[in-house]
């Protein structure tokens, strides 16, 4: 079986900021290579990525859109319980009609199974959940509850379930294995958190007879960092979750785009740290995902006029070359970023614009999944 794995490597600079803090308000950190690094947790960036979908995604284009819902759910019922294969279409019909969707005989004479009057949009996860309900009802003899069925239709946005697994789902029995893996972002260099001391003036306090004290004072912790962000996407798993090749290709490309442009919102109004990735390398591999974090195990240091970013880019390029020499070059790779900052990365792939990157990924996934498996 051919495998398709997308690796996303990002170097991104943040000015003084506190995008992800712990319960004491300090920016999160971790020790790596013996020195303290800035850290942004994987769950924080996944949440940001998920939020970014809402602005970029045309939901209608993803998942399965079909009038032939009875077969779709019926096949899943059979897959879950082969002994119900005989009644699978009948059970599927009960589910669909309970949800309030009408089915009728199709126009084509040769097709005997009824269809819905309009296209129904369902993700693979929703199909599984509906089939499980039908199986449960057939086993227990309990009639289907309308509310329970409708709840399954209204389940969280399918693409994020397919990408991130269940996250915080209300339905514990909906098991979806996440297709995306996101590492905690860490700074490529050593950091120490700094404190911003602030005082706030009481606007109504004036006059010579009052003290000159502030209304309140406190500190905000922050740091600045050049982050290495890494995510990988198991496209085969994504296809199992989405159920449809075209939807998978688009979801994969959307994930990469959303992962690149997203930013956790912590202390955003205080620091306005709205940066975008400086240098990005996206690869498609057929064997295994590979993180390049080892490039920064030895922390980079700014040298002379060149900042930490350019040292980080050089370390990333070296690591990519070494990994590719040892483990084989990727099937395809793209480089994206800001001007000269991303130039050194061009050794590892073709330089593209953001739209070209999205198209390239979509195309590559289409071709690979369309291949004989």
């Amino acid at each position: 079986m051919t495998r398709t794995i997308i690796d996303v490597h990002v170097l991104q600079t943040l000015p003084p900021s506190n995008v992800n803090r712990d319960d004491t308000g300090s920016p999160k950190t971790a020790v790596y290579g013996g020195v303290r690094r800035a850290r942004v947790s994987s769950q924080a960036w996944k949440k940001a990525t998920r939020t970014a979908f809402e602005t970029t995604l045309d939901r209608d284009g993803l998942g399965v859109r079909t009038k032939r819902v009875l077969e779709l759910i019926g096949e899943e019922i059979t897959r879950q319980s082969s002994d119900l294969a005989e009644q699978s279409i009948e059970l599927a019909k009960q589910i669909i009609t309970t949800a309030g969707i009408k089915v009728s005989a199709p126009r084509q004479k040769e097709r005997t199974v009824e269809e819905s009057g309009y296209l129904i949009f369902l993700s693979a996860a929703q199909v599984r959940a509906l089939a499980a309900l039908a199986v449960e009802s057939a086993r227990s003899g309990q009639p289907l509850a309308k509310a329970a069925v409708r709840a399954k239709f209204g389940e969280a946005n399918s693409i994020d379930v397919a990408l991130f697994g269940r996250m915080v789902a209300d339905v514990a029995d909906l098991n979806v294995d996440a297709a995306a893996q996101v590492a905690h972002a860490i700074s490529t260099h050593a950091v120490s958190n700094e404190f911003d001391f602030f005082t706030a003036v009481d606007d109504r306090k004036h006059g010579a007879d009052e003290d000159a004290g502030a209304g309140m004072m406190g500190t905000v912790e922050f740091n600045s960092s050049t982050l290495y962000r890494y995510a990988c996407l198991d496209v085969d798993q994504l296809q199992r979750n989405m159920g449809d090749t075209e939807a998978t290709a688009r979801a994969a490309a959307e994930f990469v785009r959303a992962f690149l442009v997203s930013m956790p919102t912590g202390k955003q109004n205080t620091f306005a740290n709205n940066t975008v990735p400086d240098a990005v390398l996206v690869t498609v591999r057929g064997d295994q995902p590979i993180s390049f974090v080892g490039a920064f195990e030895e922390p980079v240091t700014a040298s002379g006029s060149a900042g930490q970013l350019s040292a980080s880019v050089d370390a990333l390029v070296t690591q990519a070359k070494d990994i590719h020499d040892a483990y084989g070059t990727p099937e395809s790779s793209w480089v994206f970023g800001i001007g000269d900052k991303a130039r050194p990365v061009e050794a590892g792939g073709e330089r593209v614009s953001r739209d070209q990157l999205v198209d390239g990924i979509t195309q590559a996934v289409r071709e690979r999944l369309g291949a004989v498996r």
């Binding site: 769950q43 029995d173 893996q181 905690h184 860490i186 198991d234 240091t301 483990y327």
Partner: protein
């Protein structure tokens, strides 16, 4: 007997053996359930698939670089904005372990191949902990303990050089041997760390007996005379004594 040896290194790893609910702890070394799960994932097994053939592997780890405990405070919200329970997740930052599995040569060869083309993305204990680069896997035609007790030290080169000793003490945690481990100085401990099933609806773990002991191994970057410990400022690796070296 053949041993599969894995080098497990990453910025973060997390090997929970007894955590449920909001506090997700980690022990200080990789768990058998975590590593068996990693191998099953590499082979493309679903969580509901049987794993009996892997449970026969004898397991042991060596702590080459203990790393530091990282506590992660995590909040979560449901789609409708309601708060989910606040949780604390613990990780081992900056750690390096050797994990060995001893078994039949054919099974070990299969696992070695699976690690080169894993069917699922692999991670060190929890999904947010991808390994730093591909997991290094080697096959040795020696018993597990021999491999763990003779492999040169695999801590980061920086640490090996700094230590400078020709031999360094490391901890080994391994499945107890009913014959060898009845000596007076090691007392096997019982840990609930044998996965019976990874099926999410009936996760189940049995117990195994482990021994933990310390042994000396060679330091490839050592053999210089040992230097006294020096405290260095972590920022930029500045060492005030550097000026006096030359």
């Amino acid at each position: 007997m053949t041993t599969l040896l894995l080098t497990l290194a990453a910025p973060l790893q997390s090997w929970g053996v007894a955590s449920r609910f909001p506090v997700r702890a980690t022990q200080d070394h990789p768990s058998k359930s975590g590593v068996i799960g990693l191998l099953a994932a590499a082979m493309g097994r679903r969580r509901t698939d049987p794993i009996e053939d892997l449970l026969g592997l004898r397991f042991g780890v060596r702590i080459d670089q203990a790393g530091a405990l990282v506590r992660d405070f995590q909040t979560a919200h449901r789609a409708d904005g309601a708060s989910a329970p606040i949780s604390e997740r613990y990780y081992l930052g900056d750690a390096v372990f050797l994990a060995g599995l001893e078994g039949e040569a054919s099974l070990v060869a299969t696992l070695d191949g699976a690690l080169r083309r894993p069917m699922f993305p692999l991670y060190l204990g929890r999904r947010a902990c991808p390994p730093a680069g591909p997991i290094r896997a080697e096959v040795h035609d020696k018993p597990l303990r021999t491999v763990l007790e003779t492999m040169p030290w695999r801590a980061a080169r920086r640490i090996r050089r700094k230590d400078g000793r020709a031999e360094v003490p490391v901890d080994i945690v391994a499945d107890a041997d009913p014959v060898d481990d009845t000596r007076g100085d090691v007392v096997p401990a019982l840990v609930r760390d044998v996965p019976q099933s990874f099926d999410p609806v009936r996760r189940d773990y049995g117990v195994r007996r482990v021994v933990r002991y310390r042994t000396l191994i060679s330091n490839p970057d050592g053999a210089r005379h040992a230097e006294p410990e020096r405290v260095t400022d972590a920022i930029g690796g500045h060492d005030p004594f550097d000026a006096l070296e030359a």
